[in-house]
Symmetry: C2
Subunit: 461 residues, 2 copies
């Protein structure tokens, strides 16, 4: 039995050492986060991206310009080595003016609708599609009324369920993603989808669809929530018997060359262990992709700058990756993980920010239980930022771009979580612009990402 | 000793009863919050307030119009009884064009500055103030250099400390509140204050000052953060020897009549026990007071509507109060608590929303320890909304308007807390407009307020 006095002294020593290291980490984290909050460049980097380049859909000129912007900013902000990692990306082009209007109707005033083709969709061809509209609330109704579908335009009018908060997008996006093929199965000629957003406005939201190769590929457009209500009301009146004319000019070209843009700093102690942090380079074409995902890119790059300017030299190699083609193919994320596996690289963590630039609340953690137990002990460091809400999913993903690293290499994943109530008002629409990003919130997101990277870099997982 | 079996059975029964009541409360709360999130009127009420009335500074025409708006909306949204409670309010008037410019300078291009008089300040008179500018960082520097102050304009250039997050406003607002008298003490002729905001923009922010009657009342203006940097740079150049001319036309008139606007529903079981919920009716004059505090008013009113439309009949009497004159006097809050005390009313809780319309994170709870212990057991009901961050201050206040109820009657206080990083970009400035409020966040704030009111109404404190 250890004499009480010695036991006490040993215990106190242990506490002191623990308290000391906690204090050291708190101070180191504060130094880094203060650097972001006081001198952060993420916001000004985002301004340049949004206002001088703007949209950067895979295969577009904007994508190539954004790649060059990425190389430049990564170099300026502290990367020792910057390079492009080539991958083939889809090349979908929206084409000229898109339109939708009733062509035969009586006594109903404004009967044209603002539409945006859904990404990856086929166009209508020059003559357009002219047909009666069949409104359904959801797939259950579509299946129940399948005999009525043939030769019609199916209109999915499923409202965004505002009570689901962060779950509302996943709940409603099914119709945009899979609605075209589901309707084509029963002979529909085209689909119209109510925009996936909490906003009650005139702003249509695009996004990707996936065709099921078993059925014909039919055109698909999104309309604003207000237009969806207007169309629904019109269908209850005389225009129930009217034909709607839709014309879109989009086309899927052959795959083209895109790139992941990568900036690295070599680890001082374990240069062969990698930490990957990123956002995605591509964005939908109606606006600047400020929230989706300009924010994620500049938040990631800012970590390099803050580490440098706060004087922190990571033990592990840090790679900032601006992933190609998240929106309509995830080819960049797949390529990155494929190469990492080929080279047998040791990836100790991956982090992604792709949930908008709002107040950061914590991280979604996709890893083993043992790893998460360790991460949970760090919660205290995130409390001062009100970003200490961690969720755990065993072996789960942290985002579309880094998910393949989990699949290929079981790399632990961190996805930045935000309050995300404004995000879907802007998302994939003409108002995802720089003005809808707040500097403090953007920088705070980057600060808490940097804090987590510091901890994993220092202690491993 | 209780036989094990009976003990077990009793315990299980107790658990069942507890589980049952928790389930009942969860469902009742969900019914109410769903009513707010699906059918909420707060956002459309706010639109009408902002776009048809706009600014409503105490004593202004806008204030009287807003009182009428309040009576109307409270009636429509479920109050059984609506009335005005008279109180005298300050009547400060900004007057015509305000200006500031260098009058003698060499070779410096743009030398005029956009200014907003700070509320309650005296004007400069027709001839204005013309004097050299002395820049100080803070009160310490002012006191150290007190011998240089006489005959000068003192310029407080204290930056908003972005690393303090929610503490930054309190830290920086001292110079706006007390800077004029602090400088007048040493013979200054006027003061200029860097706007209290995280934003780096051209937008000046007003707010109230308090004069110390021991010193002369001197004019005080706010300038934007960008103008503060520009002025500071100019002072380092030739214009260090130039005179700055300031002209303001504001004047404090005699006190005038204002009102708290009150809407009540009588409690079914304890009609003599009161629950007070509110925001403040007045707002600064440069804009619409959408966040400060139109949001708090419409969130409070929405609780009545949601209770009615979800079919919940409170046991206690609920009073929604649109408080007069929070911004430059708090006369409404003082009057309300004074009358409550005179009438010996029993107030079991008071709640205020005056922290902007952003994502709600929980409540600041000013009450006894025993009361807070009870409130803490309810945290689980707020987790689904990510609004379960409660802070406790023994006998503390929940906001400027309800604080006097704590002082007079020891009424337990709840102040809605939000993420509040965007708030101070808009606060007291020309951009505190309806467009800078998000419907989902606004309604979510109202929903969690309603949930807390439900619990206190049902279980008491």
């Amino acid at each position: 039995m250890i004499p009480k006095k010695i036991f006490f002294a040993t215990t106190m020593l242990l506490f002191s050492v623990l308290a000391f290291s906690q204090n050291v980490d708190s101070l180191a984290i504060k130094k880094i986060t203060d650097e972001v909050m006081f001198n952060g460049k993420a916001y000004s980097n985002l301004r340049v991206l949004c206002k001088t380049i703007g949209q950067r859909l895979s295969g577009s000129t904007g994508m190539y310009k954004a790649e060059q912007w990425g190389l430049k900013v990564l170099t300026e902000d502290g990367a020792e080595k910057v390079y492009l990692q080539e991958c083939m990306v889809p090349h979908w082009v929206r084409g000229a003016k898109e339109e939708a209007k009733f062509v035969t109707h009586k006594g109903i005033p404004d009967q044209s609708f603002k539409v945006l083709s859904i990404g990856n969709a086929v166009g209508t061809g020059k003559v357009g599609v002219t047909a009666k509209v069949m409104e359904v609330k959801n797939f259950e109704e579509l299946n129940r009324r399948k005999d009525e579908v043939k030769g019609k335009i199916v209109f999915y009018n499923y409202p965004f369920n505002k009570t689901l908060l962060k779950g509302a997008y996943g709940d409603a996006v099914r119709f945009r993603s899979n609605g075209a093929s589901a309707a084509a199965k029963y002979g529909a000629l085209a689909v119209i989808v109510r925009s996936v957003t909490a906003a009650d406005d005139d702003n249509p939201h695009t996004g990707a669809l996936r065709y099921n190769d078993s059925f014909p590929k039919i055109p698909a457009v999104a309309i604003s929530t207000k237009d969806a209500d207007r169309l629904s009301n019109s269908l209850k009146k005389e225009s129930a018997n009217a034909n709607l004319f839709i014309k879109t000019n989009c086309v899927m070209m052959a795959d083209t060359i895109g790139h992941n843009v990568i900036g690295e700093i070599k680890g001082t102690e374990f240069p062969d262990e990698y930490i990957t942090i990123g956002g995605h380079l591509d964005s939908w074409d109606p606006a600047e992709g400020a929230n989706d995902d300009g924010a994620g890119m500049v938040q990631s790059i800012e970590i390099l700058r803050a580490f440098r300017d706060a004087g922190y030299k990571p033990k592990r190699t840090i790679r900032i990756v601006l992933f190609a083609n998240e929106e309509n193919g995830t080819r960049g994320g797949l390529k990155y993980a494929e190469v990492a596996k080929e080279k047998n690289e040791k990836h100790i963590m991956a982090m992604e920010s792709d949930g908008g630039s709002e107040y950061p609340r914590g991280f979604g953690c996709g890893m083993t239980k043992a790893q998460y137990v360790k991460v949970e002990t760090w919660k205290k460091y995130f409390e001062p930022y009100d970003a200490d809400k961690f969720s755990f999913s065993e072996g789960g993903g942290g985002g579309a771009d880094i998910g393949p690293l989990q699949t290929n290499l079981k790399t632990p994943q961190f996805g930045l979580n935000t309050t995300a109530q404004r995000y879907f008002n802007f998302h994939h629409s003409a108002i995802d612009v720089f003005e809808n990003v707040n500097e403090q919130e953007l920088h705070l997101g980057s600060a808490v990402m940097a804090a987590m990277v510091y901890l994993v870099d220092k202690y491993g997982l």
